[in-house]
Structure formats: structure tokens, C-alpha cells
């Protein structure tokens, strides 16, 4: 115990640190995905949105030699992708699943192809000696006060700006979804569009808005991948299924921003655990893969639970009403 003490704490703090940074791109994308989910659009296309975001952020940052411009470009791109996605899923009423798949495929092809055509075999390399790229906002930030605290400092300090902005956005999104009229309309547009229509608001418009915001969030998630690391770069298929993980988080968290963020942390935790496993159990076997699969299984179990408890709830209400009728 005494021997493992310090090593346990360092392992734990680096695991949790890894968890927080690993959860960030996923959480950012999921914050967007929960809006489309609320608006009643099954959004499989998040992976493609992230990928395009990562590419454009890196490309613009490399060309304009400014990380900040890269992020601004990504916001603009996110709007465009959202419009494109909504054009098909809302306006043209295409199958949202197929459109999502096609968007992923398009992103995979387009970013891979253009990265190669425009930047050559080496991919996008950003000259980190340029002052604008050293912009402190995108580097690891040492949070004053907290960084001095043992353990907590190791966990919570030293992340990129994206990590801290994401935490802030979780709260903002929660307020937006549950505490603003627009949030109510977006939720109503998915849950009961006719109700919203008879209330004089256009549900299609809410779906457009949700889709655009989702594009922006996924774009930012992409930017956090390509710009949020020390060596700002873009590699092919950089999103690496994070869009699907984000989708799982949205489902797991019931599209509630706080719960969705917790789900992202859960995925991040298992990711970090897998990463640290070699140190912890000292085995040559890549148990990390199996550990990473756990949160998906939990998500499925969660889905079943939600469905079953929903059925129970309906049955209970029917029974209550029946009892009331019988009393009369």
C-alpha cells in the first residue's frame, strides 16, 4: 500500500487528466448532437462534421498562419454544413440515416483528397514558430491557484482552451435547452412538432436552427482535434469514430447537456483507463480495446432501461386511471 501509494496517485491524476482532454472533442460534438436529437433528427453525420471541422481548422490556420482565424473559419464552415445537412433532412425529407452516412463518407473522401492535393503527402504541417500559432489560448493553460493544489492541479490544470470552453458551453447549453424559449421550441419541434405548429412557431425552422448549431459545435470539436494539441496538424480520418461516440453520448445522456457531458467523461474515462492499463496491470495483452468497448455496452443497456421504464410508466398511468374509473 505504501509502495503503491504515490504511483497510484500519479497514475490516477494522469488518468483523469487524460480523461478530461479525451472527453473534450466528443463532448463538444455531443453538445451539438443533442440539439438535433431534441429536434427529432437522428444525426449519424456528426463524424463527418467533425472531420471537416478538423481539416478546415488546420488548413485555414496553416494558410492564414493564425489559429484564431482557423477557429473562426470552422464556425463559418459549421454553419454551412448545418445548412447542407438540414437542406436534405428537413427540406427534402431524405432519410436522415442515409444522409448522415453519406456526409461521413463525403467528409472522409474530401478531407483526405484535398489534404493531399493541397498540402502534399506530408499532410498539413503548421509552422509552430509563427507567433500567431503560439497563441496561448490554444496551448495548455495553467490555471492559477488550482495548479498549486496537489492532485487536483495535475488533473484540472494544463489543458487547452478547448477543454475549459467546453465546460463553460455545457452550462450555456443546459441553460439554452432548458431555460430559454428557443430551447423549448427546439425540444417541442422534435417531441411534438404539431404542437409547436399550433402554438404559432414553425418546427421546420427549429430543426434548421438545431442543425446549424450542431454543425458549428461539431466543427469546433474538429478544431479542438487539429488545433487543440501541441503539434497542430491534420491527418486522414482524424475524427476516428468520435462522431459515433458523441452520438452514443447523446443517447446515453437523454440529450440533456449535463448528462451528455457525463457520458462523454465516461467514454473519456474508459479511454484513459485503456491508455493507462499497461501501467496498472502490467500485461502485454491490449486490454485497452476491451476496456474501450465497455461504454458502448453500457449505452445499449441504458437504452433498454429507458425504453422499459417508459413502458412501465405508461402502464402505471393507465392503471391509475382505471382505478379512478372503477371508483366512480
Amino acid at each position: 500500500m505504501n509502495n503503491s501509494g504515490p504511483s497510484f496517485w500519479t497514475t490516477a491524476s494522469s488518468t483523469l487528466h487524460f480523461m478530461l482532454s479525451s472527453a473534450t472533442p466528443v463532448a463538444l460534438a455531443a453538445l451539438g448532437g443533442l440539439l438535433t436529437e431534441h429536434a427529432g433528427i437522428m444525426n449519424i453525420g456528426m463524424d463527418g462534421m467533425i472531420l471537416m471541422g478538423a481539416f478546415v481548422a488546420a488548413a485555414v490556420a496553416a494558410i492564414a498562419k493564425s489559429a484564431l482565424l482557423g477557429v473562426l473559419a470552422v464556425i463559418f464552415l459549421g454553419v454551412l454544413i448545418g445548412l447542407f445537412f438540414a437542406l436534405f433532412t428537413v427540406k427534402l425529407r431524405s432519410d436522415e440515416f442515409i444522409i448522415g452516412c453519406a456526409l461521413n463518407t463525403l467528409a472522409l473522401g474530401l478531407t483526405g483528397y484535398l489534404a493531399d492535393a493541397w498540402f502534399g503527402l506530408d499532410g498539413i504541417r503548421i509552422d509552430m514558430t509563427i507567433p500567431a500559432m503560439q497563441n496561448a489560448y490554444f496551448h495548455n493553460i495553467n490555471v492559477p491557484l488550482i495548479k498549486e493544489v496537489p492532485f487536483l492541479g495535475d488533473v484540472f490544470s494544463g489543458h487547452t482552451a478547448f477543454v475549459y470552453i467546453t465546460w463553460l458551453l455545457v452550462i450555456v447549453m443546459w441553460l439554452f435547452v432548458y431555460r430559454t424559449p428557443m430551447g423549448f421550441w427546439i425540444r417541442a419541434s422534435g417531441e411534438s412538432p404539431d404542437t409547436l405548429r399550433t402554438a404559432g412557431k414553425n418546427p421546420e425552422r427549429m430543426k434548421w436552427i438545431a442543425s446549424i448549431l450542431c454543425g458549428v459545435f461539431c466543427g469546433l470539436a474538429g478544431a479542438s482535434l487539429s488545433l487543440g494539441k501541441l503539434n497542430c496538424t491534420f491527418v486522414e480520418n482524424m475524427s476516428d469514430s468520435r462522431g459515433y461516440i458523441a452520438f452514443a453520448c447523446v443517447i446515453f445522456g437523454g440529450a440533456n447537456p449535463v448528462k451528455v457531458f457525463l457520458a462523454a467523461l465516461m467514454f473519456g474515462f474508459f479511454d484513459a483507463l485503456g491508455d493507462q492499463l499497461k501501467v496498472i496491470i502490467q500485461s502485454d495483452l491490449p486490454y485497452a480495446y476491451l476496456v474501450n468497448a465497455i461504454p458502448y455496452v453500457i449505452t445499449i443497456i441504458m437504452m433498454v432501461y429507458v425504453v422499459v421504464s417508459g413502458q412501465r410508466r405508461r402502464e402505471r398511468i393507465a392503471k391509475q386511471q382505471l382505478r379512478k374509473l372503477e371508483q366512480k
Binding site: 452516412c101 463525403l106 492535393a117 459515433y244
Partner: protein, 367 residues
């Protein structure tokens, strides 16, 4: 003569064929713009696209092998969608099927090929089927959305495969993966990936087409997919048929995994056995509107595009352009369907107005 024409029109959905051709054409135009934007010559690139798959037997063989994979994956999706269940989990079923098939092969080293191949095929199908059964039963019994569960299960399967193929089931003599070179299918064209698996695939394709289109079982499946309430009303055991269809779909995917391992790669390495091939098959099925024969034809068209994408490399275009082409075709198809639906709606509205106006005039005249 007139009857013959009517027969042809009934058999061939001409407006659909025109829609597909226009979609591909428009998609290629859009892609040309992308090519120009990337600084490539689209004419040279498209020449390479068309010529390459037919430029040598080896290229042609690779193209056919890919068409086979797309076709089987597409048909697996068709089997599910025919009864109204959308199997998105084919990727996972394929990978797990391939993994288990490879494991079986690696454990039966030294035995007769005639024993090992059927065992591996059965193991692959059983694995794929079982893996499809989970979302199937959840859908039928609890109404859990099968699209979401299968997406989750895909990720789980990919991770499981990575684990086993890179560790406990890995051949120690090999650098990576589970090696089954010993039992590989005979290659049909030297240097290509086309193996005797294509005959087995043709057989499976034929069976699927036959059962869906020509038998009373296929007839019942279509009823369930079109209107499950009506199917129940007519006395069909809808739940059971849906689950069976899902299992069959999973078995087909598992078999594809086995074909990839024994026919093309001779080893199980996750990234090589399938690179989201099932999703491509899914899109093929979607463009084919979930009909078997169009699925076969469109999988060949897409295989030509994919193979041709290699040919575009001579013009400096990288292989990724294939994904772009595939996606643009789908967006064009979707746009076409959507636009046509809204035009039809507007037309119906106008027809109704005319109708009411005519009725009113008629009424006035009667008075």
C-alpha cells in the same frame, strides 16, 4: 406489341433508371469541379477512371472482388429492410464473422481444406447471425431502435476484433493478425484478389434474389415490410419473421467476413478485412431502393468507380476521391427524390383546386 411494352414498363422502372443515370452524371460533374478546385485535370482523371478497371485482368479481378463484397453487404441490408428492420450492424457482424472464421482456421491447421472451409464458413455465419440477433430481439420485443443499437455494436465488434487479432488469437509467427494462408481460396486471376469465393457469392446472391422475389416466403416478408399491421391481420407471425430476417442478414455479413479473410487477405487484420465496406453496401442498397437486382447492378457500378479511382492516380488524384464520388451520387439521388416529391405535392394541390372549380361550375350549370 402494346402488351409487350406494358410488360417491359412494369418490369423496368424507367423513371428510376433515368434518375440513377442523371444522379451519377450530375455527381461526376460536381466531382469534376472538386477536381479542378484541387488543381487536377478532370478529363484526364475520368479517362483513367473508365479505362483502369478494364486495362488488365488483374484490375478487373480486383474490381469484381469488390463488387462481390458490396453486393453481398447490400443484399444483407435488403434482407432486413424487406421486413422493415434496418441492419446497420453489418460492419460488426462482418468483422466478427471474419475473426471467428480466421480463428477456426488457425486452430485446424494441418487438416483437410474440405473440412476447414465449411467449418469456418459455418462459424462465421453463426457469429454474424448471433450478433444480429441481439438488436433484432431488442427491436421486436422492446421496440429499441435497431439503428442505434447496431451502431453501438459495430464499435464494440471492432474493438473486440482488434483485441483478439492483435493478441491472444494472433499467430505468433506472424507480424500481425490471424494467418490462414494454409486454407486460402484458389485465386482466379493471378495477382488479383478474385478467388473462388465469387462462385459462393454468386450462389448466395442468387438465393437471396430467388427467395425475396420468387417464393412465398419472400412474398410474406414484403408484406411485413410494407405494412406490418396488415401482415398481422392476414395471419403472419410477424415478430418471428423479422427476427429470422435479421439473423439471415447477419449471417450473410459474417460470410462476407469469412470470404474477405480466406479469399482476399489470407489473414485477419481488422483494417484490411473491412474498411466500412458494409456502409458502402448500405448506400448501394439505398440507391437501389432495396431491390435485389438493382443492388447487384449498382454494386458493380460502384466497384468500377472504386477500382477506377486507382486509375485516376495517374492524373495525380488520390484514391480518396472514390468516397467523394460515392457520397455525391447519394446526395444527388436524395435531392432528386426530395425535389420530385415536393413538385408532386404542388401538382396535387393544383389538381385539387381545378377539381373543385370544375365541380362548382358543373353545379351551377345544373341549377
Amino acid at each position: 406489341m402494346k402488351q409487350a411494352f406494358a410488360w417491359i414498363r412494369r418490369r423496368l422502372n424507367l423513371s428510376y433508371i433515368v434518375a440513377v443515370i442523371i444522379s451519377i452524371f450530375v455527381a461526376l460533374l460536381i466531382d469534376a469541379i472538386i477536381l479542378v478546385a484541387a488543381g487536377h485535370n478532370p478529363i484526364a482523371a475520368y479517362r483513367g477512371l473508365i479505362v483502369y478497371p478494364f486495362s488488365s485482368l488483374r484490375h478487373f479481378g480486383d474490381m469484381l472482388e469488390y463488387a462481390m463484397v458490396l453486393c453481398l453487404c447490400g443484399l444483407a441490408c435488403v434482407v432486413g429492410s424487406r421486413v422493415g428492420i434496418f441492419n446497420v450492424g453489418g460492419e460488426g457482424q462482418l468483422l466478427l464473422g471474419g475473426l471467428v472464421a480466421a480463428y477456426v482456421g488457425s486452430q485446424m491447421s494441418g487438416m483437410s481444406m474440405w473440412l476447414v472451409i465449411p467449418c469456418a464458413a459455418l462459424a462465421a455465419m453463426a457469429t454474424g447471425g448471433l450478433y444480429a440477433f441481439i438488436p433484432g430481439i431488442l427491436k421486436v420485443k422492446l421496440k429499441v431502435n435497431e439503428v442505434i443499437t447496431t451502431i453501438m455494436l459495430n464499435s464494440v465488434a471492432a474493438l473486440i476484433c482488434s483485441f483478439f487479432s492483435s493478441s491472444v488469437w494472433k499467430n505468433m509467427s506472424q507480424n500481425e493478425g490471424i494467418d490462414v494462408k494454409e486454407f486460402r481460396f484458389a485465386t482466379l486471376i493471378r495477382g488479383s484478389k478474385l478467388s473462388t469465393a465469387i462462385f459462393a457469392s454468386a450462389l448466395v446472391t442468387f438465393f437471396v434474389w430467388y427467395i425475396l422475389q420468387k417464393t412465398s416466403k419472400g412474398f410474406e416478408m414484403r408484406l411485413i415490410g410494407d405494412n406490418p399491421r396488415f401482415a398481422r391481420f392476414a395471419g403472419l407471425k410477424t415478430d418471428r419473421i423479422v427476427i429470422i430476417a435479421m439473423i439471415v442478414s447477419g449471417m450473410m455479413c459474417g460470410l462476407v467476413g469469412m470470404f474477405r479473410v480466406y479469399g482476399a487477405e489470407y489473414a485477419f487484420i481488422s483494417s484490411k478485412v473491412s474498411n466500412e465496406y458494409y456502409f458502402e453496401g448500405l448506400m448501394v442498397a439505398m440507391i437501389a431502393q432495396y431491390q435485389p437486382v438493382p443492388t447487384i447492378i449498382i454494386s458493380i457500378i460502384f466497384a468500377i468507380l472504386k477500382s477506377g479511382a486507382r486509375g485516376m492516380q495517374n492524373a495525380g488524384v488520390t484514391i480518396q476521391i472514390y468516397w467523394v464520388m460515392q457520397a455525391t451520387v447519394i446526395f444527388c439521388m436524395a435531392a432528386q427524390t426530395g425535389i420530385r416529391a415536393s413538385i408532386q405535392k404542388a401538382r396535387q394541390r393544383r389538381a385539387a383546386e381545378r377539381d373543385v372549380a370544375a365541380r362548382r361550375e358543373g353545379g351551377v350549370a345544373n341549377e
